[in-house]
């Protein structure tokens, strides 16, 4: 009698529970199933706890353990632990960002300065750490496609002056950064600076100058976007679009006075190593130095360019 009742009860509830599971899945509230590999990595006890509906708690424990590995600079363990953590809590942005940060920034910086390794091996380890951080963020984005923060973090990594030299084709890296920032902006939740970051990345892509100029005009219509980098890039891209443009006059028009124009152009020139376009900048600087009577020893052309340099210099010894 009891067995029959149990079966009948089970049959009656099954469609409802299956429907509820679908609703939860559709709402994005159901975490993916735990992989067998993950179960092996966290051990029997933690597996039991995780399977008992406490996955985020196990992830929190592992995050503390990963911090210990980070302090001991055991980068492989850090990376492996974060791989497990995100299997347990794939919707927590913090874990994706922190896992990627440990690889692309902390481990990469460690290899940059690790004097125990020969330069060539340090360089490869540095590059591998940055690649690993990028791959981790890309995996995070596949799991959380509408998270503007993750998209923005990837864009930042790809366009970071200290990181993009790790990627073989900086042009492709900037194009991908612009695309990623654009996706972040399209979520509708990202703040205004994400749109500007998209522009900064796009402006550095050779062959996309017209597209970048259109975006510059769009941004420039809003007062809040009248920041020095947008203004200078607008000028540079206009100069690319129209080689006949009087860059000096246009610079004074944009920045208000020749002094301010010179200051902005000089600062832009100093950041040449960040791969920002410099169409017409040298000519305008020379013209302004002449009109402002800048002495040769104070000329911007006699000053050293600012960091970052690049892997060839970083790993030269």
């Amino acid at each position: 009698m009891l067995t029959l009742a149990l079966l009948a009860f089970g049959a009656a509830r099954m469609p409802f529970e299956a429907g509820l599971a679908e609703d939860i899945q559709a709402a994005g509230l159901m975490p993916p199933k735990m992989e067998i590999g993950t179960r092996d990595k966290i051990g029997q006890t933690s597996s039991a706890v995780a399977l008992g509906g406490l996955r985020t708690l196990v992830a929190t424990f592992l995050n503390l353990r990963a911090f210990g590995f980070f302090e001991e600079q055991r980068w492989n363990d850090v990376s492996e632990t974060y791989g497990t953590i995100v299997d347990l809590a794939p919707r927590t942005r913090y874990y994706w960002e922190t896992g990627s940060w440990h690889s692309a920034y902390n481990a990469a910086s460690y290899y940059l300065n690790d004097s125990k390794l020969p330069a060539l091996r340090r360089r490869e380890a540095w590059r591998a750490a940055i690649f690993q951080g990028r791959a981790f963020l890309e995996r995070g984005i596949r799991n959380n496609p509408n998270d503007w923060n993750l998209l923005s973090s990837l864009g930042f990594l790809l366009a970071d002056a200290n990181k993009f030299p790790a990627f073989r084709d900086p042009n492709a890296s900037f194009a991908r950064a612009a695309e990623t920032y654009h996706r972040a902006w399209e979520t509708g939740k990202a703040p205004g600076y994400v749109r500007r970051n998209e522009f900064y990345a796009l402006a550095r892509v050779t062959g996309k100058e017209s597209e970048a100029l259109s975006l510059a005009h769009e941004l420039y219509t809003e007062q809040r976007n009248h920041v020095p980098t947008v203004m200078i890039l607008l000028l540079v891209l206009e100069s690319h679009e129209n080689p006949e443009l009087d860059v000096t006059a246009r610079a004074v028009e944009i920045f208000g006075t020749p002094e301010k124009a010179y200051e902005a152009l000089a600062s832009h020139w100093q950041h040449t190593r960040e791969h920002f376009p410099i169409y017409g900048v040298a000519g305008a600087l020379k013209s302004l130095e002449k009109s402002l009577a800048v002495s040769p020893d104070k000329s911007i052309f006699n000053k050293l360019l600012q960091s970052p340099a690049g892997p060839d210099e970083w790993f030269s010894h």
Binding site: R13, T92, Y193
Partner: protein
């Protein structure tokens, strides 16, 4: 004759309530509320896992908020499941041992009233405990969210973030603080514990010992997290070519065992997502359905039992 006695004699509800209160008092005397002190230590300690941050204001302190929610809800889940199983498994054998059961059943008390009263007593205890833990968690989380938000906004202003960006930051951070979804998650913890208590009640009606009831209940609890996999195997068997025996096994498994996987929405809430009211409503229906069925099934067994 007092009003309570009159109610107790006159209606099922009255009798159930009297037995529930007695069961509640009986459990409180076992000093289970001492656990709340442990919970308070955990909730406060989780505040100190403030690991280094890697970015701007948007990440500052968010990890601590996750940590508080994760530790608190994890502790609530463990406590509620253990308490609901152990307390229910203890009640019937203890009444037999103390001979209280004979006194009660010698009176005109239907056995269903006795069972429902005992279950209600356990659920009352679990509910009160969870409510107290929830209040503590919400207070700690609220205080910490205010601190984190203050730090984030201070840093954002120092960096000259525009107003819309600051507003977006504020919204994101508040999602990780005390929300209605978080209260819904605590209620889901209670529903899962209710299912376990009613299941333990059913097992204890035919079990020979408290230990047996507890062990079987814990096994069902863990296996219940795979029930949905068995159901999927049965429902989608045609796609992967399982044998008839495999399909029938999966069907049997999914008919007999409760499905706890749907309650894993709690994890999503800890991760800062919003639980739709409709999902919580359906989970409540599921919880009620199990509780009513298991209590009725317990009565079927208990009614036939000779003492």
């Amino acid at each position: 004759m007092s009003k309570t006695n009159a109610v107790a004699r006159g209606s099922h509800v009255g009798r159930i309530w009297v037995i529930a209160r007695h069961a509640f008092t009986q459990l409180v005397r076992m000093k289970v509320f001492y656990f709340l002190a442990v919970f308070a230590v955990i909730a406060i300690a989780s505040n100190f896992f403030d690991l280094p941050q890697h970015e701007g204001p948007e990440s500052l302190g968010v990890n601590v908020l996750h940590s508080i929610k994760s530790w608190s809800l994890g502790t609530m889940t463990l406590f509620s499941v253990v308490l609901s199983i152990v307390a229910t498994a203890l009640l019937l054998p203890k009444d037999v041992e103390d001979r209280t059961l004979y006194t009660i059943l010698a009176k005109p008390v239907p056995r269903i009233d006795y069972l429902a009263g005992k279950l209600l007593g356990v659920l009352l205890l679990v509910f009160v405990s969870l409510a107290l833990m929830d209040a503590l968690m919400t207070a700690v989380l609220q205080i910490r969210t205010t601190v984190v938000l203050g730090q984030q906004l201070g840093m954002a202003q120092a960096q000259g973030w525009p107003a819309d960006t600051v507003e977006s930051l504020r919204r994101d951070t508040l999602l990780n603080g005390p929300t209605w979804s978080l209260q819904g998650a605590v209620f889901a913890v209670f529903l899962r514990a209710s299912i376990m208590a009613s299941l333990a009640l059913l097992i204890s009606t035919f079990s020979t010992s408290t230990l047996f009831t507890a062990i079987i209940s814990f096994m069902v609890y863990f296996i219940g997290h795979f029930q949905a996999d068995a159901r999927a195997v049965y429902l989608h068997a045609g796609h992967s070519g399982e044998s008839l025996a495999g399909r029938m096994g999966a069907l049997l498994f999914s008919l007999v065992l409760p499905d706890f996987q749907n309650f894993n929405v709690i994890d999503a809430v800890i991760e800062g997502q919003t639980m739709p009211l409709m999902v919580l409503g359906k989970l409540t229906l599921v919880g009620l359905y199990y509780a009513v069925f298991f209590t009725a099934a317990s009565w079927l067994v208990f009614a036939e039992k000779e003492f």
